[in-house]
């Protein structure tokens, strides 16, 4: 597990993982924090924040030097191995240990254990992707799977855990700036023409903007009006002060949401919406590409309306006659334009409790894992390329002025900006605390419960201090679930990965100062 605290963020996935551990599987966790997941691992590799690529390159070199490369797989299914081997050659165990802070023996153990296992999985979450080197981090892990052949086989693979119940489905439906439904490219003339026929509309061949580019376009005044559906960027964006300033700068802001979020409060028009998973019929797609049905169980309150109705009525006012399609009718339209969903009839989704794409026809059982083609001889399709990637430290550098590294993440009982999880009274909720290592707390003269002023290059907020003996010296941790009491994203870094658009939430530089409480306060 690399950059994932699934015990807290994906607890039921972790149940499955623990079945393997109970049955004798070995587990390593790679994470700057010694998380609750790490307590179940054979070994915890506590790397310095932002040194994932260095560690992966070091593991790769050790696999090569120990003669543990799956040469049959590398020769028949990959390309670029020689270049990769040369690229990682400088990453000796000693050098890797120096950069990452992980002991050489632990790196060696991970490399040998992973490469020697008959089946092995590399599991990651936002600890890999919320960096300015997000895509390179992922490629660095892919290299290890290619070296060892731990991909495309039952029990082996690359497992990015999705953080939301339909973030996979959103991408599948084409809610990406460069994709049509089913990951067909907008630049693909055939796909575009086919969809234009179905939709009776012209589709631009140029990709649109992703979220980070939209904020840049707001700043340059190229983007003047925004319709936000089910997102709370005023709280969830890194460098939140800047994001709020940009949203405030818009000529027109429409927010469609289930609650009056901070973003909704800024809007010119708020469209109250039904809650997807409990007030609406539809589908969501999970981390394992499993399309499942959501069903309305209760009536939406007040004037809240089904999202389909809101969008269809908006279309009507713009002059398009979409009628009021049911969820099933929309799904059937998707099946007609997205080949990988073609075999998933509404009836099958009901009867089978979910189907994993691709599922091209009604006789297809769905696909439990991808990339099996890499094991066909000769290989079916193009070879999988090794990537030569280098580590680059976090953009927000540590200095005497900002000496501590702040990383953010989820805790077990809460979710994102708390819009949905803040309403139940959890007995284990610890709130907005800034967690410090024992040594850092001591040197700052702080104890649990003290108030502190926490500052980054972008903002300052007051927080309550907690001490976590499992944190390494120099690292601070907090959640971002309680923006109303601790507006953590005022601190986080909006340096972003140019390939994915993801901000570097995991690596801010901060300063912590004790706040003296007046004796009678």
């Amino acid at each position: 597990m690399w950059g994932s605290n699934a015990r807290a963020a994906h607890p039921i996935f972790f149940h499955h993982l623990l079945k393997g551990v109970d049955a004798g599987a070995r587990m390593w966790t790679v994470d700057p924090r010694r998380t609750t997941s790490a307590r179940f691992a054979d070994m915890w590799l506590g790397l310095n924040v932002g040194t994932d690529i260095a560690l992966a390159n070091g593991v790769g070199r050790e696999i090569i030097h120990a003669g543990l490369v799956n040469t049959e797989f590398v020769e028949n299914a990959t390309e670029g191995y020689e270049g990769f081997a040369a690229h990682v050659e400088p990453w000796t165990l000693g050098r890797t240990a120096g950069v990452t802070g992980v002991p050489a023996e632990a790196i060696r153990d991970l490399a040998h254990g992973y490469a020697s296992a008959s089946t092995a999985q590399l599991i990651w979450t936002l600890g890999i992707t919320e960096h300015h080197t997000a895509v390179d981090n992922v490629l660095a892990l892919c290299n290890l799977a290619l070296l060892t052949g731990h991909v495309g086989r039952w029990g082996s693979g690359l497992v990015p855990l999705r953080g939301q119940n339909n973030v996979q489905g959103g991408g599948d439906m084409g809610a990406l700036p460069n994709k049509l439904p089913g990951f067909q490219d907008v630049a693909d003339d055939d796909a575009r023409t086919r969809l234009e026929g179905v939709w009776q509309a012209t589709i631009p061949a140029e990709p649109g903007w992703h979220l980070t580019q939209m904020f840049e376009a707001m700043e340059s005044d190229d983007l003047k009006a925004v319709w936000v559906i089910g997102e709370n960027p005023a709280d969830s964006e890194a460098d939140a002060n800047h994001a709020r300033e940009m949203l405030g700068h818009l000529q027109h802001l429409v927010v469609q949401d289930v609650f009056m979020t901070r973003t909704a409060e800024m809007a010119d028009v708020v469209l109250p919406a039904a809650l997807g998973w409990v007030e609406s019929d539809g589908t969501v797609t999970s981390s394992e590409r499993r399309v499942q049905r959501t069903r309305a169980a209760v009536t939406p309150p007040g004037e809240a309306r089904q999202e389909i109705d809101v969008i269809a009525e908006m279309a009507e006012r713009m002059g398009a006659k979409w009628g009021r399609p049911t969820a099933e009718e929309l799904w059937d339209e998707l099946r007609s334009v997205s080949p990988m969903h073609g075999g998933m009839s509404w009836q099958r989704l009901e009867a089978e409790g979910g189907i994993q794409w691709p599922c091209p026809d009604e006789d297809h059982p769905g696909t439990p894992f991808l990339h099996g083609r890499l094991w066909k001889r000769p290989i079916d399709g193009r070879r999988a390329p090794f990537s030569c990637v280098d580590d680059h430290p976090p953009v927000d550098q540590l200095t005497d002025e900002f000496p501590l590294r702040l990383t953010t993440g989820r805790v077990l009982d809460s979710y994102n900006t708390g819009v949905q999880s803040g309403k139940f009274n959890s007995p284990i909720r610890s709130g907005d605390a800034l967690e410090l290592s024992t040594d850092d707390a001591r040197s700052l003269g702080l104890v649990r419960g003290d108030r502190a002023l926490v500052s980054s290059r972008r903002g300052s907020i007051e927080m309550t201090v907690a001490v976590d003996p499992d944190l390494p010296v120099g690292l601070a941790f907090t959640t971002f679930h309680f923006p109303e009491i601790a507006d953590v994203n005022q601190l986080t870094s909006d340096a972003w990965d140019t390939s994915s658009g993801t901000s570097e939430f995991k690596a801010a530089a901060i300063r912590v100062e004790k706040l003296e409480v007046a004796p009678n306060a």
Binding site: A9, H10, P11, I12, F13, H15, D22, F40, G152, W154, L161, R162, G163, Q164, N165, V167, Q168, V258, F259, L275, G276, W277, V278, E279, V284, S286, S287, E288, R290, Q292, R293, T294, R295, A296, A297, V298, T299, P301, G353, G354, P368, F369, G372, W375, K376, D380, L412, D413, S414, Y415, V419, Q420, S421, G422, K423, F424, N425, S426, P427, I428
Partner: protein, 287 residues
């Protein structure tokens, strides 16, 4: 390509149940063989998503050549085995188990199937003496937070909760049995209040409790108020919104409000279990 290794098929074993010849895969339990044959068998401590704890003895059957009755939930089938599920000895034993349990524990909120079996076997717990004279019964429910109630007046010590909290699902180990004999009870470490214990409030213990000893606070409060009306509740299955794993939720709705959330044990994603968010994070959807 999508080739999945499923290993060697299990050879079939032939046995006799209630006079009928039955073939089931090697390693099956007698209970699963009975269910395959459509022979209904009561259980209390057994659940499809837990390892058999083997303690309640309500699923016992008679096996020819065996001196004692055997628990069908955990005994594997053997070739040539001759099993009786409805002999006088089996009926008497099952009735006695229910009578002994119900003589010291309130069974009025047990699962409907449990109450049906008790009626079927003509259970008369009063034969064992007056329940209120038995020391272990009289306890006030432990109401220590807004999510759980532990009403140990209804606990039969079936260990399901301990297993769901431990090796079989959650691996949190917040509860275990403490004490011996009549003092045996399920407890947190040093009997601390639940919020101070290792508990992470997944509610998986409540999910497997067969007698209503562990209950959601919503249900407990509604029962106290006299508004709990299971017959009017509708159950709708949907997908949890709090991460990308895709756990199915069964929303129990009464009067257009969610009153309880469970998880289908036969769905491969969550196997009947959930986390605190899936189990309790629905308040924003009710008014």
């Amino acid at each position: 390509m999508n080739e999945v290794s499923v290993g060697e098929p299990h050879p079939l074993v032939e046995l006799t149940i209630d006079g009928n010849s039955v073939k089931v895969p090697e390693g099956s339990t007698i209970l699963s063989a009975c269910r395959k044959e459509g022979i209904d068998t009561p259980t209390l401590c057994w659940a499809s998503n837990l390892t058999p704890a083997n303690v309640c003895r309500v699923c016992v059957v008679e096996v020819e050549g065996s001196r004692v009755l055997v628990p069908s939930c955990s005994r594997s089938v053997e070739s040539g085995m001759v099993v009786s599920t409805d002999s006088e000895r089996v009926r008497t034993s099952r009735r006695m188990v229910y009578e002994l349990l119900a003589s010291s524990v309130e069974m009025d909120r047990a699962d409907a199937s449990v109450r049906d079996w008790m009626e079927y076997y003509g259970v008369r717990p009063e034969r064992m003496g007056r329940r209120d004279e038995i020391a272990t019964v009289a306890q006030s429910p432990k109401v220590q937070d807004d999510l759980y109630v532990r009403d140990y007046e209804r606990c039969i010590l079936c260990y399901k909760c301990v297993q769901a909290c431990g090796d079989d699902a959650q691996h949190t180990y917040a509860i275990a049995t403490a004490g011996r004999g009549f003092s045996a009870h399920v407890s947190t470490e040093s009997d601390v209040a639940l919020p101070d214990s290792a508990c992470v409030y997944c509610g998986n213990c409540i999910g497997v409790c067969p007698t209503g000893a562990l209950v959601f606070r919503t249900e407990f409060d509604m029962r106290v108020d006299g508004t709990w009306d299971e017959d009017s509740q509708e159950v709708t299955t949907t997908v949890c919104a709090f991460c990308g794993v895709g756990c199915n939720l069964e929303l129990h709705v009464q009067g257009d409000a969610i009153v309880k959330v469970t998880s289908p044990a036969d769905h491969s994603v969550a196997n009947g279990h959930l986390c605190i968010k899936g189990r309790f994070g629905w308040q924003h959807a009710s008014g």
